[in-house]
Structures are given as C-alpha cells and as structure tokens.
C-alpha cells in the first residue's frame, strides 16, 4: 500500500513539473509579439476543434441537415452550401479543424519523440549504434513518401492512422540527423566529462545533460514541422488519399474543384478551406519563429537594438557623455624622487 502511494506521489510530482514547465513556457511565448499572435490563433483553432459540435450551426455529417445545394453565403449559411451535397460550408470548416490539428500535432510530436531518441542514441553512444541508425536514415530518406502512401493506402485502406504512421516512419530522419550533430558537439563538453568522472551512467548523462541541451532545437523544430505536416496532409486529402468519410480541408478543396466551384463562381467554397489551412500553418510558424528568437539571443538582440536606439534622444545622451568627463587638475609638478610607500600588498 505504501509503495503504491509512493509511486503515485512520484508520478504526481513529475506531472506537476511537466505542467508547470509547459505553463511557464506558454507565458514566455505570450510576452513575445510573434508568439502572442501564434498562441491566439492556435487557441481559437483549438476551441473550434474541441467544441466543434457547439460552434458549428449544422452537423455536416447529418444527412438530414442538408440544405439546398449551391447556396451563396447568407445569414443562415454563413459560407453558403456545397454544390455537390448541400452541406453547410461553415460547419465543414469548423469540423475540418479537428482533422488538421490532430494530425499535425500527433505527427509532429511523434516525430519529435522518435527523432530525438534516435538522434541522441546515435550521437552519444556512437560506434555501431550510430552506424546502424545512420544507415537506416539514409535508406528511409530515399523512399518517396507519396508513392508509398498510395500503395499502402490501397492495401490497408484509406485511414488517417495510416497517413500518420507513414509520415512518422519517414519523417523522423531529418530531425534525427540534426539532433545527432548537436549531440556530437555537446558530448565533448567539459561538464559531460566531469559527470563521467563522477561515475554517471550513460542514461544519466543522456537524460540530464544531453536532452536539455537539445530541447531548444527540438521544440522549435517540432513547431515548424507541424506546420509543414498540416500542409502535406491537406495535399494528400486533396489527392483523395485521406479518409473518405472524414471532413478535412484538403478534401473540401478537392470537392470544390471537382464540383465545379470555379465554373460557377463559388469562390467562398475555395477560400474557406484555404484560409483555414493558412491560419493553422501561420500560427504554428509564428510560434516556431518566436521560439527561434527566444532561443537564439543574438537575433533578439539585433531586433531590440533598433528599438532601444529609437528611444534615446540627444539630451539624454549628452547627459550620459558629460558624466564621464575628466576634470584634470592641471599638473601638479611634483618630482617623485622618494619612493612613496604604496608598494607591497603582501
């Protein structure tokens, strides 16, 4: 009983630490102007995704809620209805958030996980492990993603899970390479040597020293890769390789094109998913850029310098410069013949 309590206690503190660090992290991002926009937009999208049934006026999956086909935007249908099935486009937009965000985040975080583990193992342990992992990376990098997805979805069925699995399986390689090169540098740091001398096991060094050292790169890379994945997923859905039953922005674009939106001039049908994709990617990239500036102090400095210089005005500067003046006592011509007793601080 006691041991169970102890274990629960430990898990509790670990979780608390994780939540605290994530909260601090969000606070830091909030202070940064780019980060602010990113967080705001992502929060809006997240609200749309989580509370989709509450926000969307109609349920696009419900066949009974179909309206007349091809309606222009109006107060009942904010973005009109589709030409092919009469679903409300606005509701489809909201429900589509779910697919994009989930796929983007899940894939991004999985890639971060796998890439970091592989990169750290390859970099720190080196030798045979390094060789094996790097050869695997080389092989995986050669495989083209799109044909593989086409083949595998034909065999195993078109599900988003398949797409996520393939993205992760082929996408961890780039991150692993980058992290491995950073680990190779960190490995030779003197504090790692000092740890080894004190008898630290490999795991201790990898978790306590190397992982925090690559964490900056990892987080930044994750944010940027999420953005890229969302675009890639939209593209795949557009090509028809995604789940045919789910509603995603890429699929909306595909339907819009095949349903003749351009022909009939229904620009709102094309703009809606386009703006959706744009907002999602934009917010992640903003966060990624804010992170890059936060972690690379030199970039922040150069930005701040111009702001600081704008605030300085001449009177203040004159004051500062005059405070440094030398008042020279016009030469006391004293011949220093005797040795003054100022030497010797033994």
């Amino acid at each position: 009983m006691k041991t169970i309590l102890k274990i629960l206690n430990k898990i509790g503190t670990v979780l608390k630490n994780i939540f605290l660090s994530i909260w601090n992290f969000i606070l830091k991002l909030w202070k940064h102007p780019k980060g602010k926009i990113g967080i705001i937009v992502i929060s809006l999208l997240a609200i749309c995704a989580i509370f989709a049934p509450l926000i969307a006026p109609y349920d696009p999956y419900d066949v009974t809620q179909r309206a007349a086909k091809g309606l222009a935007p109006s107060w009942e249908h904010l973005l009109g209805t589709t030409i092919t099935t009469g679903q409300d486009i606005f509701s489809m937009l909201i429900y589509g958030t779910r697919v994009s965000l989930v796929i983007g985040l899940v894939t991004g975080i999985s890639i971060a996980f796998v890439g970091a583990i592989m990169g750290i193992l390859a970099g720190y342990i080196g030798g045979v492990v390094d060789n094996i992992i790097m050869r695997v990376v080389d092989i995986l990098l050669v495989i083209p993603t799109l044909p593989l997805i086409i083949v595998l979805t034909n065999i195993f069925g078109k599900t988003y899970l398949m797409i996520i699995v393939i993205f992760v399986a082929l996408g961890w390689t780039g991150l692993a390479r980058v992290i491995r090169s950073l680990v190779l540098v960190l490995k030779n740091a003197n504090y790692v040597k000092a740890s080894e001398l004190a008898g630290a096991s490999r795991w201790h060094i990898m978790i306590k020293h190397i992982l925090p050292g690559v964490s900056h790169l990892l987080i930044m890379s994750t944010a940027l890769s999420c953005a890229g994945i969302m675009v890639a997923e939209a593209g795949l859905s557009f090509l028809g390789l995604g789940d045919p039953t789910a509603i995603s922005w890429g699929k909306m674009l595909a339907e819009a094109q095949s349903g003749g939106a351009l022909l009939f001039g229904h620009w709102w049908w094309i703009m809606a998913p386009g703006i959706g994709i744009f907002l999602a990617v934009f917010s992640f990239m903003r966060i990624g850029l804010a992170l890059e500036e936060m972690f690379n102090p030199r970039m922040k400095q150069s930005n701040n310098m111009y702001k600081i210089f704008k605030h300085l005005n001449n009177t203040y500067l004159n004051e500062v410069f005059n405070s440094m003046n030398n008042e020279e006592l016009l030469g006391i011509q004293v011949p220093l013949t005797e040795q003054t007793n100022l030497k010797g601080e033994n």
């Binding site: 310098m305 500062v320 020279e328 006592l329 004293v334 005797e338 601080e345």
Partner: protein, 329 residues
C-alpha cells in the same frame, strides 16, 4: 608636434541596452609618437579592445555610440570622416592585427590571395606585382618557402604561422600605425617568443608606431616604450615602461605587477588583489577601484579622482597618491 602619430582626446564609448547604459570607455586620451610602441594594459572588461576598434572607427552604431574630441592620425583629423573615407585609411595607414588568427583569416581563400587583396585594394598594382610583394613580405616575417606557402589555406598552417601571416598583412602597405590586439595570447610560449621577435624587428626597422593591447605584463615589459593602464574604462596610470615596472604608484598597477608569478619568486603564496573586477554595468561610486584597494580613504568612495599629470610625463588617477604628493610638497 609633427612627431605625434596618433592624438586621441576624450574618447567615450557607450553601449545602450535594455537595462541601462554600459559605459565601456570613459574619456581616455592617448598619445603615440612616431616609431614608439605604446601598450594599453588591463583585464577583460576594461575597454581596451573597444578603444582599438574606436580608433579605427569600426564600432557600428547600433550597438555602440562613440564620441571623441580629437582623433588625429599624423595631423589628419579623422573624427568626422565618413565610412568611405575611412576605408581609404584603414589598411593603408592604420592596420590591425587581431588576436585569433583562425577567425581573422578567411578560411576559403589562400593566404597569398588574402595578402594580395591588401595590395590590390590600396595601390594600383597588377596581380603579378601584388604577388611578388606578398612573397617579399612573407619572407620578411619569417615564413619559410613563401612561394609555396602562399598557396596554402589558413587551416593548413600552424598557429604561429597564421599569426605571422596576420602580421604580414598588417605590414604590407607599411602603415603609419599598427594596432595589435592581443597578438600572441593564443600562442604557445616558444612560438610567442618568435612572433614577438618578428613584431619587434619589423617595428624597429621600419620605424612604425605600434599600439599594443594586452593583459600580459611580460609582453609589455619586453616590447613597449610607454604604458597606459586601464581599469573599468578609465586610464588609471600612464608612464614609461621603466617608471611603471620599477616604481608603480597606483594600487591597481602595484597589485597587477605583484600578482604575476615570476621565476625569481621563492615563496609559495601568490599575491592577490581581493574580490574581482566589477560588472561594467554596475560600477561602484567614486573611484572604481576603491572596493578592492587596500589604501582606500574616505574620499575614494565618494568622488572619482582626476587624472593628474606629474613630472616625467607620468599620469596617475588616485586620491591617495595625490594626497601623498601634496603632502610631500
């Protein structure tokens, strides 16, 4: 005073940042005569490298702000020169030798090409003539087999060789003033001796003025004629090498000289200056050295002592010394 090569009066450099203003150099005067070697001594953070960059007007305006009353090179007032005009002066009349040769040389150009560049930029030579001049100057600094070495890349040379290449680049156009910023700190002891020998020879032979910036007092003892000691952006003592090393006055200079381990030492305890150099953003009130000074008196914590000229061309900035001199009068 046509003998005065560099006349620097009241140089001030500040670095504004989010927290406040960092006063890097607070009003220093510098005189360098023709053929003289002047050393500026101080530890990290005292503003000596910033002074060197300021003389060459290489400080970018963000992040630095510089003001100077006079900056004359051989009578020519450089204070108001634009950057384009300074480009004519830099390399041709003032040259700089940097500390880390590996980062001061372009890693993807051969050293021959880099030295050629100096000639091609500042004199109307053909490429062939420039290459001949390069080989001559490489031979002068003691690089063996200069014809083949000129085609080497910097990473193929050893540290001492690279430093000699930097010296060659500086001497190439026979400038009037050479500024050497810690030229031998990164080198091994025996190589340091060789490189300093070369520098000394070249300077004495061609009668060029040398501004030597260093924290290594032994280098100063062997090369310099006049010494300025800087602390926290101000000059605290100035004098000839002989005066300073045999009879230092300012407590900081005394402490610095005493703390250098010498071969003639016999005791096993090192003399140390208590505490450490203050952060340049948070300098103490009054005399900057007073928290570490064993002879500090009341006034030292209230007012900054002025720089007082004494006979023999010495200058001292210390209340204690001032009082002693007044007392002795």
């Amino acid at each position: 005073m046509s003998d005065l090569m560099l006349k620097l009066r009241n140089l001030k450099v500040i670095f504004p940042n989010e927290i406040g203003i960092l006063k890097a150099v607070e009003g220093i005067d510098l005189d360098i005569h023709r053929g003289e070697c002047v050393a500026v001594v101080g530890e990290s953070g005292c503003g000596k490298s910033v002074t060197a960059l300021a003389i060459m007007k290489l400080l970018n305006s963000p992040p630095a702000l510089m003001r100077v009353d006079e900056l004359q090179l051989d009578g020519e007032e450089l204070k108001d020169y634009s950057d384009t005009k300074m480009q004519e002066i830099r390399g041709k009349q003032i040259a700089m030798i940097f500390q880390d040769a590996m980062t001061a040389l372009n890693p993807v150009m051969t050293i021959g090409n880099q030295i050629d560049e100096v000639y091609l930029r500042h004199s109307k030579m053909t490429k062939k003539k420039a290459r001949e001049a390069t080989i001559t100057v490489l031979r002068l600094v003691g690089v063996p087999e200069p014809e083949s070495r000129a085609n080497n890349f910097p990473h193929q040379l050893s540290g001492g060789m690279r430093q000699r290449v930097l010296i060659a680049m500086a001497f190439a156009t026979m400038p009037k003033l050479i500024i050497a910023d810690e030229p031998t700190t990164a080198l091994d002891v025996t190589i340091q001796a060789q490189v300093l020998n070369v520098l000394n020879d070249m300077q004495k032979k061609h009668q060029m003025s040398l501004l030597l910036i260093t924290h290594d007092l032994s280098v100063v003892a062997n090369m310099a004629d006049m010494v300025y000691v800087m602390y926290c952006g101000k000059v605290v003592e100035k004098g000839t090498v002989k005066q300073l090393f045999t009879n230092p006055h300012h407590p900081y200079t005394v402490g610095l000289l005493a703390s250098v381990p010498k071969l003639s030492d016999t005791h096993h305890h090192f003399v140390q200056i208590p505490d450490c150099v203050p952060h340049p953003m948070f300098k103490p009130a009054g005399c900057y050295f007073h928290p570490r000074c064993t002879h500090a008196i009341d006034i030292c914590s209230k007012e900054m002592p002025p720089l007082v000229s004494v006979e023999d061309g010495r200058q001292i900035r210390c209340w204690n010394c001032l009082n002693q001199m007044k007392g002795g009068k």
